[in-house]
Subunit: 476 residues, 2 copies
């Protein structure tokens, strides 16, 4: 493919993308295939000689689209949103073309320096305390791939920090003795990736109960710490959640923070979904207490119009991340590596990294902060609208509180009936949602996901749910 | 930005990309900025209201390009290549537009199933033993972000497997006792990420010496295992390298493999750079012995025309990866999860994942296997040419063997003089390369990186090196 063919075929792809996204409502949000569908549609082996562009491009509709779950359909209400916007797509094209690997400052200074600036922009948009800004002190931030990577990087760095302290206290201590001493905490409402991070770190991870709103409270953490210290253990890490995946509940940072500080523990805050809302002044209270955390993470690739992957993570003291696992071969050294600009390879598990800050820059500038706020407010309004529809129907109940763009609800009936309703909704395929267990009860989750979702789409979804509820009730 | 604006501005971006890549030779490969250059060029805070497209697009030249190290310049000879091709860029555009998150089969079957098929295609292209194919048995593969992620996933999964065995042998054993027992091995020539994986796993990682060709030999590993077993330790993991970063040396898989098998150890093979060459029959011998490995990884995003990130990893037995850290919240369950199609979330550290197999599919089909082989053969030829230029100049010596696209060379002089030459080359900025210590000696690495590099570019680079060598000699 030469430059001229690239331009011609690129235009075809642009047209396809615009047409796909503008007409996405015409496609059912959930696929209708069974495992193994794709293998039957393509050859078993790679072609030896080049195929024609037209044939390849046509296969997007023939092979791919039947098996796509359309996350950007306004009728997709599963999981949490993943962002998608035209400015982000264009920035990613440029990132691919530049195709630099930004592992050190020297390997492409623009890649590192724009990321540094974007981390400061985002920190200001979230009104993070100044100590998290590069421009202000010892703190700073980095774009990780996902919230799971951030949690893993946080717990591993916390393990290193505490391990260094234990070795100072007792130079003869073995790594095994350290592992047996360390204990980490998270809440029963936190994402499965927090518990998985404990398995990866090979340290004990205790899952603590939450209050009636699904919030981990200070007294619960404090009691657990006391208990573990009495056993001779060393609490070192707490992962708190702001906007849990199951129910969008919020741990109490203002209570947890001082307890972590008093006990010399690393507090990591996972605000993967809800963090984006904090750019709106009316939702900023959700991260009150954030000044106590050691690391903070959220996903603009969920709810801030930036395509996956983009998971910024801040740390109060840069060296806590950057010195956790330093290895320094000559082929990665450069003359400026002791300057204040980071070598991001030390801040993450992978070595290589894409030029992801470019899409952050494009999206913030082309939407403006007000444009990004408007999108969040629209989605919260739509969730409130759905909540009032549910509340207006006595067969249903709301589970938990509707604070942002997620509504948890269920039929006032058994788990079995609710599961049946869930299965019918997804078999029907007009809308798509997923369930969660909340406080042990089978619950349906209705998330506002696509940036194209409007008022009428909420009515549509509610009509589908009522329609199927009638069916389920008549079948009983 | 509406659909019309996206199409118009997208065309502008396509034109910019084609012009950038076709004329990249006109830009010095190495940037000319100092740390902090970018912050002075952009505002300290995010804009509240949207900015005009033209202003944003113009900033690519004003703000970004001065700080770019141009990895796709034919005069870039540093590190190893990172791939970049028009077909991959177009596929990534479509991947961004679809914007699905493929953590489970159900969250977008096409994303998982095309990956399954592409892993089988690639395995066949590399002539991997059939046991690594999904279509053949218990094996299969997954696209990780980077080789570092693969090594980390391998050692962590190996730790789980061995930990389960030790717990079977002794149900009372603690995690700490396990940590103190486990020992892993890699070679002095392996990438820094192997040693770093040991720090992440919190297990002992021994760095073993290599023979005169930089190859880890069976006898060395065997002696180390014997020594450690005599101490009561439990060897569990070996990371072997096919094409090391420093010097493109090759560990001896045919010797290491049976020793790992005999000692119940997990053998991970990191062929990040050299793996791509194995699609050419004449280089396939480089992974002879691969049937002994537990996991195998290479980076088509280095040398197979697929943009970063794309780091396929195969495992002989799927459950070794997929059951290493299983957590199964309801919101991620689906009715087909026990079928033979994988839920890739279990195969990796992150939860979310992009639709990366799309660019694999486009690149293989639009180049054909023969096109991909031709690119590798061209680069090896150019390296051979550079080697003969160096050998024809009695002031220089070749270090190690030139097998693929990397030439390691040095002045027959002190480390200090060689370091001086390196610094002068990069200060000159007509070409860019990086050094490495090989067997304790400061050595220059000349890698053929860009797909656009031609015969005349090798002559150009050699002229630059000779020119600066004259200067350095006259200054003495």
């Amino acid at each position: 493919m030469d430059a001229e063919a690239f331009k011609t075929q690129g235009r075809e792809v642009l047209d396809y993308i615009a047409s796909y996204l503008e007409n996405i409502k015409d496609r059912p949000p959930l696929h209708n295939v069974t495992p193994g569908y794709l293998r039957k549609l393509i050859p078993d082996e790679a072609p030896n000689t080049p195929e024609a562009w037209d044939k390849v491009m046509k296969d997007i509709e023939r092979v791919i689209m039947p098996g796509v779950t359309h996350w950007h359909s306004p009728h997709f209400h599963a999981y949490f949103p993943t962002a998608n916007s035209y400015p982000a797509i264009l920035a990613d094209m440029l990132s691919d073309a530049i195709g630099c690997i930004g592992f050190t400052w020297n390997s492409s200074p623009a890649c590192t320096e724009l990321e540094v600036s974007m981390m400061d922009w985002l920190a200001q948009m979230l009104q993070l305390p100044k100590q998290f800004l590069f421009s202000e002190g010892e703190g700073g931030g980095v774009i990780q791939c996902t919230a799971s990577d951030s949690t893993v990087m946080a717990i591993l760095s916390a393990r290193t920090a505490m391990s260094n302290k234990l070795k100072e206290e007792n130079p003869d201590i073995t790594n095994g003795e350290i592992i047996n001493k360390l204990v980490a905490y998270t809440s029963e409402m936190s994402h499965s990736s927090a518990e998985r991070a404990g398995l990866i770190a090979f340290t004990t991870m205790r899952t603590l109960p939450t209050d009636e709103n699904g919030s981990l409270r200070g007294s619960t953490l404090e009691a657990a710490i006391k208990e573990d210290k009495a056993k001779g253990l060393r609490p070192f890490f707490c992962c708190a959640t702001v906007g849990s995946t199951s129910s969008c509940s919020f741990d109490n940072l203002e209570e947890l923070g001082p307890i972590c500080t008093a006990n010399d523990m690393w507090l990591h805050v996972d605000a993967a979904y809800a963090g984006s809302a904090c750019i709106c002044p009316e939702f900023r209270y959700l991260i009150n207490g954030i000044e106590h955390c050691t690391t903070f993470n959220f996903n603009p690739h969920k709810w801030m119009n930036i395509n996956f992957d983009c998971s910024p993570m801040w740390v109060k003291k840069r060296s806590l991340l950057s010195e956790a696992f330093v290895l320094d071969p000559l082929y990665l050294k450069h003359q400026h590596q002791d300057d204040y600009m980071p070598d991001y390879r030390h801040w993450q598990i992978p070595l290589g990294r894409r030029f992801r800050s470019l899409k952050v820059w494009f999206v913030i500038r082309l939407f403006g902060v007000e444009g990004l706020q408007a999108n969040i407010r629209k989605d919260v309004q739509l969730a409130k609208k759905f909540e009032s529809l549910v509340r207006g129907d006595s067969r249903f109940e709301i589970v938990g509180q509707v604070v942002l763009g997620l509504v948890c609800f269920r039929l006032k009936d058994t788990d079995q009936i609710n599961e049946k309703l869930h299965d019918m909704i997804n078999a029907d395929r007009r809308i798509h949602l997923v369930p969660a267990y909340i406080k042990g009860k089978y619950t349906l989750r209705f998330a506002i996901c696509a940036s194209r979702t409007q008022d009428s789409d909420v009515d549509y979804a509610w009509d589908v749910i009522k329609d199927l509820t009638l069916k389920i009730k008549s079948e009983l």
